[in-house]
């Protein structure tokens, strides 16, 4: 019983390590360009730690996943990248969209994360 309890507590301590220090299960590069994200559909597994590497091929764009609290600005071409990490906690389909006005087709600049 004592051994089992010790193992349980050690496991809890390990899993509580900051997820930002872990190596992500999957790294996905997403390019933003008026008025598309490429890719516009990303499929991941439930529970995975995902890292998105976001770059732009023209002006600065935004990357927002409604309801998740994720909303960052992607710097313009040649000015670097934004990296976001998140855990795909629940199965489902989650829209991501440009949150920084980028021109005539801004509204259609959307994509989806499919968590299986």
């Amino acid at each position: 019983m004592r051994m089992f309890l010790g193992f349980l507590i050690a496991y809890a301590a390990l899993s509580a390590q900051d997820a930002s220090q872990r190596k992500p299960d999957r790294v996905v590069s997403i390019t933003a360009e008026r008025f598309t994200f490429n890719p516009s559909k990303v499929t991941v597994r439930e529970g995975e730690l995902i890292e998105f590497v976001l770059t732009s091929d023209d002006t600065d764009h935004g990357f927002r996943i409604p309801g998740s609290g994720i909303d960052v600005a992607i710097p313009p071409q040649g000015k670097g990248e934004a990296r976001i990490r998140f855990i795909a906690s629940t199965k489902g389909r989650f829209v991501y969209e440009c949150s920084r006005p980028c021109g005539a087709g801004h509204n259609l600049m959307r994509g989806a994360i499919i968590v299986k």
Binding site: I9, A16, L54, A104
Partner: protein, 452 residues
């Protein structure tokens, strides 16, 4: 038993903490301080204590203050509702790093953006003429995550006087998007016709050359917008489409030089008796490659009773970037039915023969090279463009083409971008036509365009 459990857990956590090196802890605290300064610039380096524990305490204190202030401002009077427990997000954010800038939580930061276009144009034998060509403001609003508004309001040539041809104030687009499924969404309002490259991507830094391509002026009449509604969607694997029903072109205003260009109603005095049908399919499944094709078909006779010519327009276009090279190409062809009858009808009304063609055609290709190394913060693009455009490609029986409208042009120039959103442009235009009588004039253009 409980005491034993607590003791063991504490010991385990302490061991885990000791496992982290002091330098790692310091780096993480420094990272947190940096992030906090993005939210609260007042939390500057002067708040930094000497030892890590005090720095952590300082961070905790400031975060508590910010959270408290935010809760107070978010719900100043209302007690927390019993059933308003916020569900845990399905995608749990962990960290944000890189060269990003913090942005607001929602699209409330959208209220306005825009672009401006300021030109100096000079034709052979003439002096430079300044022209504040376009002053455009864009407004958007999100009613919800599924209903969004977008609009573009334009002032052309800086001055508008009633009825004068000195300028134009126009609603260039104003529509609502209703997002239903990725592959099926609705759109309604004043819509940009989804044809060609520039009509929907006309921000000055998005194309080379001071003026828009001739083919996308005389064959595809940018900026082409009509009232209507339609569907949009992402079919997956890089394929996207837009299909609309819109107000029709007005055949009464077609002519020999501009083809169908002057037939745009832009929603003013438009007719929906025979709505025009249009669709565009795009492939953007490979990074830096976009292929597109569009088809437009619509009757245009709402102002010519008893005569209802049909305009059909087909376009195929491509954009591709490879390393420091960019390529663009476009082909467009327009067919007009009942062109002879339309010419006769308009001649009776106007007193002169408009000599409208039954077929118009144009194409261009444009290679461009980024001159500066990628690591530089500025960009210089050298480009050349060849355009061939003929608004008298095929004439109806009994009509002879006007050769001065069988034109071609070489445009060569530079685009300097101190940032991605500002373009200082220079180009030289060699104009040619098939006419031996009417001489084409070359031109020099200087331009400054910006987007914000």
């Amino acid at each position: 038993m409980v005491k034993y459990f607590v003791f063991l857990a504490t010991a385990c956590w302490a061991a885990a903490l000791q496992g982290q090196s002091a330098s790692d802890l310091e780096r993480r605290i420094a990272d947190l301080e940096k992030k906090l300064r993005l939210i609260d610039p007042a939390f500057g380096p002067e708040n930094r204590a000497d030892d890590l524990v005090r720095r952590l305490e300082s961070l905790e204190k400031r975060v508590d203050e910010l959270v408290g202030a935010r809760q107070a401002s978010a719900q100043p009077q209302q007690p927390p509702a019993q059933d308003s427990v916020t569900p845990a997000p399905a995608l749990t954010p962990v960290s944000v790093t890189g060269d990003y800038r913090a942005s607001a939580e929602a699209e409330s930061r959208l209220p306005v953006s825009g672009y401006m276009d300021f030109h100096f144009n000079k034709e052979s034998g003439d002096s430079f003429r300044p022209d504040f060509h376009r002053f455009v403001l864009l407004f958007g609003h999100s009613f919800s995550n599924r209903i969004k508004f977008w609009s573009e309001l334009e002032v052309e040539h800086s001055l508008v006087e009633g009825g004068e041809e000195t300028g134009e104030v126009a609603v260039e687009q104003a529509y609502l998007d209703f997002f239903i499924k990725p592959y099926f969404n609705l759109r309604a309002g004043m819509l940009l016709t989804p044809v060609g490259i520039v009509n929907e991507r006309h921000e000055p830094p998005a194309y080379n050359g001071v003026e828009r391509p001739f083919v996308e002026t005389f064959i595809i009449p940018t900026t082409w917008r009509e009232l209507g509604f339609g569907i949009t969607g992402d079919l997956g694997k890089g394929f996207r489409y837009r299909a609309y029903l819109t107000s029709a072109l007005d055949a009464r205003r077609f002519d020999a030089e501009g083809g169908i260009t002057e037939g745009r109603t832009a929603g003013f005095g438009a007719s929906f008796r025979n709505p025009a049908k249009m669709a565009r399919l795009e492939y953007a499944g490979v990074r830096r490659l976009t292929l597109g094709t569009s088809i437009y078909s619509g009757h245009t006779g709402f102002n010519t009773p008893g005569l209802n010519p049909r305009v059909t327009l087909f376009d195929a276009d491509a954009r591709y970037s490879f390393r420091r090279l960019d390529f663009r190409a476009l082909f467009a062809n327009t067919w007009l039915s009942w062109a002879a009858e339309l010419n006769r009808r308009l001649q009776q009304r106007l007193g002169s023969d408009p000599n409208i063609a039954s077929e118009m055609r144009g194409y261009y290709f444009e290679p461009a090279a980024h001159v500066f190394p990628r690591r530089w913060r500025t960009d210089l693009i050298a480009f050349g463009r060849y355009e061939k455009f003929n608004t008298q490609e095929r004439m109806p029986e009994g009509y002879v083409p006007l050769e001065q409208f069988n034109r071609s042009a070489w445009i060569t120039g530079l685009t300097f971008k101190p940032t991605a959103d500002i373009a200082l442009k220079f180009d030289y235009v060699f104009n040619r036509s098939a006419s031996e009588v009417v001489r084409s004039l070359n031109g020099i253009n200087l331009g400054l365009g910006w987007w914000f």
